[in-house]
């Protein structure tokens, strides 16, 4: 069985798709870092190439810009199957020359929609779940730990909303830190350590959170459905030490 190896990048998937289309093959695809050689697989390495990427990208955008946009979002997912889904959707769209996003009975487009929905849902959740703490110098700092690489999807919302205050968004899972003020942003990468700030309002909010709870209607399972435990770490209302 044929398989193609690529460098694990978004561009890489496009280059793999290009070669698959050109050679009229339907290979399995593997990122080089995850690939374990097997005697059943006959592998070809495909190097990423900016020009090929652009060629495929433009062809795709010409057919359906929305499809390209979906693929971009899907790539931010932490779903391990995303690369294969993206690869298959590129090929199918280019072969059929039409926007197939709503072809829900097709496995690949159904999965693409599912992955994109999950990424967007997580991004939407973090519009609410992000918590800032005010530092002594008056900077509002928020660290969070999303599954997907969603910081770029939520940045604009906070830039508009907190225009007048200096704030920092810090995704410690992906090591991205954005410092923002008055609509301007400075980006930093590979910063994985969170900053600890104690903020008196955290206690007050916890009081509010504990009081608004209707004890006779306790239903923690539903709470956890909406707000999974892995997100609690950076939320003051869930900090039992406060």
């Amino acid at each position: 069985m044929k398989c193609y190896l690529y460098d694990g990048s978004f561009e890489g998937i496009f280059c793999v798709a290009y070669h698959a289309l050109k050679n009229k093959e339907t290979p399995k695809i593997y990122s080089k870092t995850n690939y374990q050689p097997s005697f059943l697989l006959e592998h070809t390495e495909i190097d990423s190439n900016e020009q090929i990427f652009k060629k495929v990208k433009n062809a795709l955008i010409k057919i359906s810009a929305k499809t390209y946009n979906y693929l971009e979002i899907a790539f931010k997912s932490s779903n391990i199957e995303k690369d294969e889904v993206i690869f298959n959707c590129i090929i199918k769209t280019i072969l059929s020359k039409q926007n197939e996003l709503e072809n829900f009975s097709n496995e690949h487009f159904f999965n693409l929609n599912k992955i994109v929905e999950a990424v967007k849902y997580e991004a939407h959740r973090f519009l609410g779940f992000i918590r800032f703490s005010k530092s002594e110098k008056g900077v509002f700092y928020a660290c969070f730990e999303p599954d997907g690489d969603i910081i770029d999807l939520i940045l604009n919302h906070f830039l508009k909303r907190f225009y007048a205050i200096p704030f920092v968004l810090h995704d410690i899972n992906h090591g991205k830190l954005y410092a923002c003020y008055k609509g301007k942003t400075q980006k930093f990468f590979n910063i994985y350590k969170k900053v600890k700030i104690s903020d008196n309002y955290a206690k007050l909010f916890k009081t509010y959170y504990d009081t608004i709870f209707i004890k006779s209607r306790k239903n923690e399972r539903q709470m956890l459905n909406y707000m999974p435990k892995r997100y609690h770490k950076n939320m003051p209302e869930k900090n039992e030490l406060l």
């Binding site: 009975s105 609410g128 992000i130 007050l204 539903q222 909406y226 707000m227």
Partner: protein
């Protein structure tokens, strides 16, 4: 009194109010702090599974009214507190800047008199908008009987306002809330809806998220049909965004005029389902209620309707118009959208529907796919099967609300 203590008391009095939505407003930030998010944003979830979107508090729970069903009524002996407009502004801003909340839901008991209370509420929202340059969401509860000018001015600053109808008829109101009248509640609703309808442009700054209301169900003898017709008129004539139902609970047990038993959350649940069908699925009240003017408790209203109209089913999912698809029990708006999108690429089978994650539990009795029918044959079997599904889902959803003690707490301080 410490701020924390006040916050506790005033949250306690406000927490049973059903509405916590922050949707419907797209208010832009003008170099200040805050913005509207049209779809609303939930910032946290309490241990009872409800969302925390707004800072929901009363300005005060000191009340001069004595409504029989209410916890904050004058004659009840409970801890009371008042927050000044500045205190409310400060705490709202500090919470908002930390992204704890989406905005403020401010309500109040009637302190001294209606106008005095409304003035304080107005003062608070004006400060937030002008002094603090706050552009986040504000839901303001109106005080019935306050001067029209005050109410209209508040509408210029708030995103949403609500006047609670409380009881579905004038007689019940006279009996149970003697200081309120139908006129004092309905006249501000009419006025606001008139103002909204006069200026329909997107740029209109008057209550961009419209108005809502709340009705207590089960404290008075009105039937579902009456309540739903009222609801329907509120949506169609007054263009309300939402009508909330609050199931009655006997909080003040020594009142002879009030029922001693809670209304139960199943009825509330059925009303919400019917409400949804009225707004989004093209049903009319007459189609939903039975000959006794009530909703069936055994099935959800859509199921009940479909069982009554078996001559219309089964429908073929590959050809049925969208208006019919959404009337199939178990297929919602999202499911219908998926079906009409996907069938453009090819005929759909039951296998395809399963892959599209469309639940066939209920729907299979009402549809065919490519001419195939996979539901049960006899009417009685279908009914039993649906009944069983209904019971299972109710156990999941409603068990925690069903006893008296639990539903005791359902209504209170919401004016």
């Amino acid at each position: 009194m410490e701020l924390e203590e006040k916050l506790k008391i005033l949250t306690e009095s406000a927490k049973y109010d059903v509405s916590c939505s922050s949707s419907g407003s797209n208010r832009k930030n003008r170099q200040g702090i805050g913005s509207g998010a049209h779809g609303g944003i939930c910032h946290s979830f309490t241990k009872d599974g409800r969302c925390v979107s707004l800072l929901k508090i009363l300005m005060t729970n000191v009340c001069c009214f004595d409504c029989l069903y209410c916890q904050s009524r004058r004659s009840n002996d409970i801890p009371r507190a008042i927050m000044t407009p500045t205190e409310i502004c400060e705490i709202t801003m500090e919470f908002y800047k930390r992204n704890y909340i989406e905005g403020l839901f401010l309500s109040s008991a009637v302190y001294k008199n209606a106008n005095y209370t409304m003035e304080l509420l107005l003062d608070t929202v004006v400060r937030l908008r002008k002094l603090y340059n706050f552009n986040g969401y504000i839901h303001l509860k109106g005080i019935p009987g306050a001067d029209n000018l005050l109410i209209m001015r508040a509408g210029e600053y708030a995103d949403r306002m609500s006047f609670n109808l409380e009881l579905p008829s004038e007689q019940s109101l006279r009996l149970l809330a003697p200081q309120k009248s139908k006129k004092s509640i309905l006249s501000p609703i009419t006025m606001i809806s008139g103002e909204k309808q006069a200026d329909k442009s997107i740029k209109s700054k008057f209550l961009p998220a419209g108005q809502t209301t709340q009705i207590i169900v089960g404290a008075s003898p009105e039937r579902d049909g009456k309540i739903l017709r009222l609801t329907s008129a509120l949506y169609n004539k007054y263009e309300l965004k939402r009508v909330y139902y609050s199931s009655y609970a006997p909080l003040n047990l020594n009142e002879d005029l009030l029922p001693k038993t809670p209304a139960g959350l199943l009825r509330e649940h059925r009303l919400y389902q019917a409400d949804w069908l009225l707004r989004f699925y093209g049903f009319s009240v007459e189609e939903l209620v039975d000959e006794n003017e009530n909703l069936l408790m055994e099935y959800d209203p859509k199921c009940a309707w479909a069982l009554k109209h078996q001559e219309l089913f089964p429908i073929e999912i590959n050809t049925a118009p969208v208006e019919m698809l959404v009337k199939v029990p178990g297929i919602g708006l999202k499911g219908a959208y998926k079906i009409i999108s996907a069938r453009r690429f090819g005929a759909l089978s039951f296998e395809d529907l399963k892959n599209m994650k469309i639940s066939l539990k209920r729907a299979r009795h009402f549809i065919t796919a490519n001419g195939f029918y996979s539901g049960l044959k006899k009417e009685i079997e279908i009914k039993n099967s649906l009944l069983q599904i209904e019971n299972e889902s109710q156990i999941e959803q409603l068990s925690m609300f069903s006893n008296l003690e639990n539903s005791l707490a359902v209504i209170t301080g919401e004016l």
